[in-house]
C-alpha cells in the first residue's frame, strides 16, 4: 500500500478569504485553471506558499507558478485582468527556476494602483494540476493571515493519477496533425484564454502542443501556455496527436481563432501575413574613431587582477573540452555514467579541500561540493536524461539553467559565481570524457589562457607557475581571489590582444599596473623593478607620516578625511591620519531589512560612529537610495531611467517621515557627541534645500537641541550652476564627483564602452566644480570633494587649485593623499587648475598633474 502524502499550502498574503466559486471570473470560478481559492489582500507582498521552484513568471509580472517537490504546482495570480497593466504596479522578487522557501517574497505590488486599474485585486491561488490532489481541505476563516494554512491537500497516489499508459493506449490509432495559428488575443495567452484553450484540449482527448519560436508548451497546462510569453499576432504552431487528429486540430484552431472567450479586434492583413525573418546582419568589427587603446609595441594592457611582478615563459593552457554527443539512446546507462562522474568529482573536490585546508581555496571548493549536491542541479540533469540527452549534454544543460538564473539577477557578484558553476561543469565533463584534469607545467612559466577556473587556478603548481594572464575575467573573479591568496601576479581581461602572445615568449607581467610586456629587454626589466621599489618605499614613508598635518608647503591646511560607513571604518580612518569623515554613508542602516530602522536604532548607530572619531567632524549624508536600489519596505515604482528619477533627497522630500526620523536621530547623536554635520544628496533646486533644511530646524526645535551644520552634495549640474543661490542656505558643499561626472558627460559610468571616458578630471566636470566653488565663496562657504577623484593622486593639485579645501577619500589611500598635499604649494596648484580648465580632455589634465606630483 502506498502511503498518501499531505501537503499544506500557506497563505501567501494576508486578507479576505474568497472561495473559488465566488471569484468573479468564470475561468477561475468554474475551476478551468484548477482548484483552489483566492485572497482579497490587505498586504502587498506575495510570498511563497510552500517550498518549491519558480516554474513560471509571467512577463507582465502579475502571475507566478511554484512547483513543489511532489510535482504539485500552484499558480498565484494577482488580480483579475491585471495582465493588461503590463507589469506596472508589480515588482518581481524572484527569477525563473529559482528555488524558494515558504514565506520567501515573490512579487511586491502597489495595491492601490492595481485596485484602481484592474478589474479586481483578489489574488487567485490555484493548484493547476489538481487532478493530482485527492482531497482539499480549505480554511474556514473569513480573514487569513499570511503564513497560516490556507488549505491542505491529500495527494493522490500514483495509481490514481492519469499515467502514461493512457496516452499510449490512445496513441495506438494516433496520427499527428499541425497547423499555424495567429493569436488574436490582445494580451496573448494569459490565464483566462489559456484556461479556455486547456478546456478545449482536454475535451479533445489528444496530446496537443503549441510552439512559439523555439519554445513548445503542452496545451493541457495553463501555466505552460502562459510561460510561452505569447503576444497578439504571434504565429504559433498547433500540433495535435491522437485519433482523428485532423478534426481536433480544426476544432482547437477554431477556438483559438474565435479569441478563446475574449473579445478582440480582427487581425489585420499585416498581422496575418507570415512573419518574414529579418535578414541576417553581418557584424563587422570596426575600429572606433575614439577611445582606441594606444598600443605600446610589445605591451598589452588588461585588468590588474592580483598584484606582483613576474618574468617567465608563456605557457598556453588549453581549457577547451573535446566534443561529445548531444543525445544517447540508453538513458539508464547515461544516468549511471553521470552518477559515477559526479561521485568522482566529489572525491576530487574532497581531496582539494583537504590539500588546501585553512586557505581561501578550501572555501571555494567547499562551495563547489555544495553546488554538486544541489537537488535542483540533479533534478534538472535527470529531466534532460529522460528526454534523451547524453550524460554530458544533460549535465551541461542543468548547469546552463543555473547559470542563467545567476546572470538574470544582474548582480555582478552572483553573476561572477556563474564561473564556479562552469568550473564544476568542466570537472564533471572531463571526468565523463576521461580527460586528464591535472596539467604538467614547465618551470618558471606564466600561464596564458582564455579564462582560468578556480579549480585550475588553485591547482597551479606555484613552484613552477609565476603568474597568469587571461583573455576574460576581472579583479573580482574567484580566480583573481585565489591568485591573490597564492601571491601570484595576475592580469585579466586582455581581450583578443592575448593572441599576440606566442608559446615560449618571455613575459613580464605587472599585476599592479595590469600590463604584460612581451619579450622585454633587460633594461625594461631593470626599469620596472626600480620603479616598483621606489613606489613601495614612498608608500611606506607616507604611512609612517600619516598622522602629520596635511598642510601645503606654504602652510594652508587641507582636510584629508575618510569616506566611511561604520564605526570600524571610522576607527581605521583615524589610524590612517584622517581629519574626520567627509562622507558617512547611511544606506547600510536601511538595507537588508524588512522595516525601516527606528529613530532609536539610527541614533545608536550614529552615536557609535561619532564616538569612534571623537572631536573630529563627521558629515552624515541622509539616505541616498533610488529606483535602481529600492528598499523592500519602501516600494518605489520601477523607473525607465532611475538615475533621473526619485532618488536621494527626492525620496526624503516625498516621504518626509523617513527624512524626519533620520534627521532627529542625527540631531540627537550630535547633541551627545557634538561632531556631526548633515548633508543632503541630489539637491538640484533651491526649493529642495530650503524644504529639507526646514526639517532640520523644526526637529532641532522639537528636540530642544542645537541644529548642526547643513550642507549638500554637488552632484547634479544644476546645483553647480546655482551654487551661489544654494550657498545662501547651505553651510558647505561636497562634490559627489562620480554622479556629477556621469550627469555632466551624460555617460553611464557602468557602461562598458563609456566607463573609460567618464573621467572626473574631464575639463567640463572641473568647470562645474570651479562654478560651485565660486558660488560657495560668495557666501563664505567651504567646498569639499567626497567622490572618487578625492582618492585619485592626480586630482589632488587640480582640486586644491580650484579652491577645494577638503578631500574625503577611501580609507587605504589617506596616507598617500596626505603626503601629496604636503608636497604641493598654493601657486603650483592654481597654475595646474587654471591650465586644467582649458585643457582638451582628462588625459591632458592628468599629464599636467603628473608633472607636479612626481
Amino acid at each position: 500500500m502506498v502511503a498518501q502524502q499531505n501537503l499544506a499550502l500557506h497563505a501567501p498574503l494576508t486578507g479576505v478569504y474568497v472561495a473559488i466559486a465566488n471569484i468573479p471570473d468564470p475561468v477561475f470560478a468554474e475551476k478551468m485553471v484548477g482548484d483552489g481559492c483566492a485572497i482579497d489582500p490587505t498586504s502587498n507582498l506575495l510570498v511563497a506558499p510552500f517550498d518549491g521552484t519558480v516554474t513560471q513568471l509571467h512577463d507582465a509580472k502579475h502571475a507566478v507558478a511554484i512547483t513543489h517537490a511532489s510535482g504539485i504546482e500552484v499558480l498565484l495570480h494577482i488580480g483579475l485582468d491585471s495582465v493588461a497593466l503590463k507589469g506596472q504596479g508589480f515588482k518581481t522578487k524572484v527569477a525563473l527556476n529559482q528555488q524558494v522557501k515558504t514565506g520567501e517574497p515573490l512579487i511586491e505590488f502597489d495595491a492601490d494602483y492595481i485596485a484602481t486599474h484592474a478589474q479586481a485585486l483578489m489574488t487567485e491561488i490555484i493548484i493547476t494540476n489538481s487532478d493530482q490532489v485527492e482531497r482539499f481541505e480549505f480554511t474556514n476563516k473569513a480573514l487569513v493571515q499570511q503564513g497560516e494554512t490556507l488549505f491542505s491537500m491529500t495527494l493522490a497516489s500514483a495509481a490514481n493519477t492519469a499515467d502514461a499508459s493512457a496516452v499510449a493506449e490512445h496513441a495506438e490509432s494516433a496520427s499527428t496533425e499541425s497547423a499555424t495559428v495567429v493569436l488574436p488575443n490582445p494580451q496573448g495567452l494569459h490565464a483566462r484564454p489559456a484556461a479556455v484553450l486547456v478546456e478545449a484540449v482536454k475535451k479533445s482527448g489528444c496530446q496537443v502542443t503549441l510552439t512559439r519560436g523555439d519554445n513548445t508548451a503542452k496545451a493541457n497546462s495553463v501555466v505552460a501556455l502562459m510561460g510561452l510569453g505569447t503576444k497578439r499576432a504571434d504565429h504559433l504552431v498547433l500540433t495535435v496527436t491522437g485519433s482523428d487528429a485532423a478534426k481536433h486540430l480544426a476544432d482547437i484552431k477554431g477556438v483559438i481563432d474565435a479569441g478563446l472567450g475574449e473579445s478582440f479586434a480582427p487581425l489585420t492583413e499585416a498581422e496575418l501575413a507570415a512573419p518574414v525573418a529579418a535578414p541576417a546582419v553581418e557584424v563587422t568589427q570596426e575600429t572606433p574613431l575614439i577611445g582606441v587603446k594606444e598600443k605600446v609595441a610589445g605591451q598589452l594592457a588588461g585588468v590588474a587582477a592580483a598584484p606582483g611582478l613576474a618574468i617567465g615563459e608563456a605557457f598556453w593552457l588549453q581549457t577547451e573540452l573535446p566534443e561529445y554527443p548531444a543525445t544517447a539512446a540508453d538513458s539508464a546507462a547515461q544516468a549511471k555514467r553521470l552518477k559515477d562522474a559526479i561521485t568522482q568529482s566529489d572525491r576530487q573536490l574532497e581531496q582539494l579541500i583537504a590539500d588546501n585546508a585553512g586557505k581561501s581555496q578550501a572555501e571555494i571548493f567547499t562551495a563547489h561540493r555544495g553546488m554538486l549536491a544541489d537537488d535542483d542541479l540533479s533534478q534538472s540533469a535527470l529531466a534532460a536524461l529522460q528526454s534523451g540527452a547524453s550524460a554530458e549534454a544533460a549535465f551541461a544543460k542543468a548547469i546552463d539553467a543555473q547559470v542563467q538564473i545567476l546572470t538574470a539577477t544582474n548582480d555582478p557578484l552572483l553573476a561572477g559565481r556563474a564561473a564556479d558553476l562552469r568550473d564544476l561543469e568542466g570537472r564533471v565533463l572531463k571526468n565523463l570524457l576521461g580527460v586528464a584534469i591535472e596539467v604538467t607545467y614547465p618551470a618558471n612559466c606564466v600561464v596564458v589562457a582564455k579564462d582560468l577556473t578556480p579549480s585550475v587556478t588553485a591547482s597551479l603548481d606555484t613552484d613552477k607557475v609565476l603568474g597568469f594572464v587571461t583573455e576574460v575575467g576581472g579583479a573580482s573573479s574567484h580566480s583573481a581571489i585565489i591568485a591573490r591568496a597564492l601571491g601570484l601576479p595576475a592580469i585579466a581581461g586582455l581581450g583578443s590582444d592575448i593572441a599576440d602572445i606566442k608559446a615560449s615568449d618571455k613575459l613580464m607581467i605587472d599585476g599592479q599596473a595590469g600590463t604584460v610586456r612581451i619579450n622585454p629587454s633587460s633594461e625594461q626589466v631593470d626599469a620596472l623593478l626600480t620603479a616598483k621599489k621606489a613606489r613601495e618605499a614612498k608608500l611606506a614613508q607616507a604611512e609612517q607620516a600619516a598622522s602629520e598635518p596635511a598642510n601645503l608647503k606654504d602652510g594652508r591646511h587641507i582636510e584629508v578625511m575618510a569616506n566611511i560607513a561604520t564605526a570600524a571604518d571610522a576607527a581605521k580612518g583615524l589610524t590612517k591620519g584622517a581629519d574626520g569623515s567627509g562622507l558617512l554613508r547611511t544606506e547600510f542602516l536601511f538595507q537588508d531589512r524588512q522595516t525601516a530602522p527606528t529613530e532609536d536604532e539610527q541614533f545608536d548607530s550614529y552615536r557609535e560612529i561619532l564616538a569612534a572619531m571623537p572631536g573630529k567632524p563627521i558629515i552624515i549624508r541622509t539616505l541616498d537610495v533610488g529606483g535602481d536600489k529600492p528598499l523592500s519596505y519602501l516600494p518605489l515604482p520601477e523607473e525607465e531611467n532611475p538615475f533621473l528619477g526619485e532618488r536621494g533627497i527626492r525620496i526624503g522630500l516625498n516621504r518626509p517621515s523617513i527624512l524626519r526620523t533620520q534627521v532627529r536621530a542625527i540631531l540627537r547623536a550630535h547633541a551627545k557627541c557634538g561632531n556631526a554635520k548633515i548633508m543632503f544628496p541630489m539637491i538640484a533646486r533651491v526649493e529642495e534645500l530650503v524644504a529639507a533644511k526646514a526639517v532640520v530646524l523644526e526637529e532641532a526645535q522639537n528636540l530642544g537641541v542645537q541644529a548642526c551644520d547643513v550642507g549638500i552634495m554637488i552632484e547634479v549640474p544644476s546645483a553647480a550652476m546655482i551654487a551661489d543661490q544654494l550657498a545662501e542656505h547651505a553651510e558647505f558643499f561636497s562634490v559627489g564627483s562620480n554622479d556629477l561626472t556621469q550627469y555632466v558627460l551624460a555617460m553611464d559610468r557602468g557602461h562598458p564602452k563609456m566607463a573609460a571616458f567618464a573621467d572626473g578630471l574631464e575639463p567640463a566636470v572641473l568647470r562645474m566644480i570651479a562654478q560651485a566653488v565660486k558660488g560657495a565663496q560668495k557666501h563664505g562657504r567651504w567646498v569639499g570633494v567626497c567622490g572618487g577623484i578625492a582618492s585619485d593622486p592626480e586630482a589632488v593639485p587640480v582640486l586644491i587649485g580650484l579652491g577645494v579645501t577638503e578631500l574625503s577619500c577611501s580609507v587605504p589611500v589617506i596616507p598617500e593623499i596626505r603626503a601629496i598635499v604636503r608636497q604641493l604649494d598654493e601657486a603650483t596648484c592654481s597654475q595646474v587648475a587654471n591650465a586644467a580648465l582649458v585643457a582638451t580632455d582628462a588625459k591632458a589634465v592628468r599629464a599636467l598633474a603628473a608633472k607636479v606630483i612626481g
Binding site: 486578507g15 479576505v16 490587505t42 492601490d112 485596485a115 484602481t116 478589474q119 479586481a120 480573514l143
Partner: protein, 94 residues
C-alpha cells in the same frame, strides 16, 4: 411649470444615484463628510476612501458586507467586502 416641463427638467439633470445606507454609515465611521475627501468603488469588492486626516477603524467596526480594512497609507484606505460593491451606488474609479 407644466408637468411636461418638469419631465424635461428632470431629464436634463444628471440622475442621482441611490446610495446604499451602508455608505452613510461608512462615511460617519471615517469622520463624516468633512473628513471623507473621496469615496469610490473599485476592484469589484473594494471601497476606496481618501481621508483629510487619518482615522483608525478596526475590521470589527465595519458594517456588513465589509469585513476588512486595507490601510494603503495614513490618509487612504480600502474597505473590502465579501461581495460586489458596484451595486452600492458609489461612483467607480474606472
Amino acid at each position: 411649470m407644466g408637468l411636461f416641463d418638469k419631465f424635461k427638467k428632470a431629464a436634463a439633470e444628471p440622475a442621482k444615484a441611490t446610495v446604499a445606507p451602508v455608505i452613510s454609515e461608512l462615511q460617519q465611521l471615517f469622520g463624516g463628510e468633512a473628513n471623507v475627501v473621496d469615496m469610490r468603488s473599485c476592484a469589484h469588492s473594494r471601497v476606496r476612501i481618501e481621508l483629510a486626516s487619518p482615522v483608525s477603524v478596526s475590521d470589527e467596526q465595519l458594517p456588513k458586507p465589509f469585513v476588512a480594512v486595507h490601510q494603503i497609507d495614513s490618509n487612504l484606505v480600502h474597505l473590502i467586502a465579501q461581495q460586489d460593491v458596484s451595486t452600492l451606488g458609489l461612483p467607480s474609479v474606472r
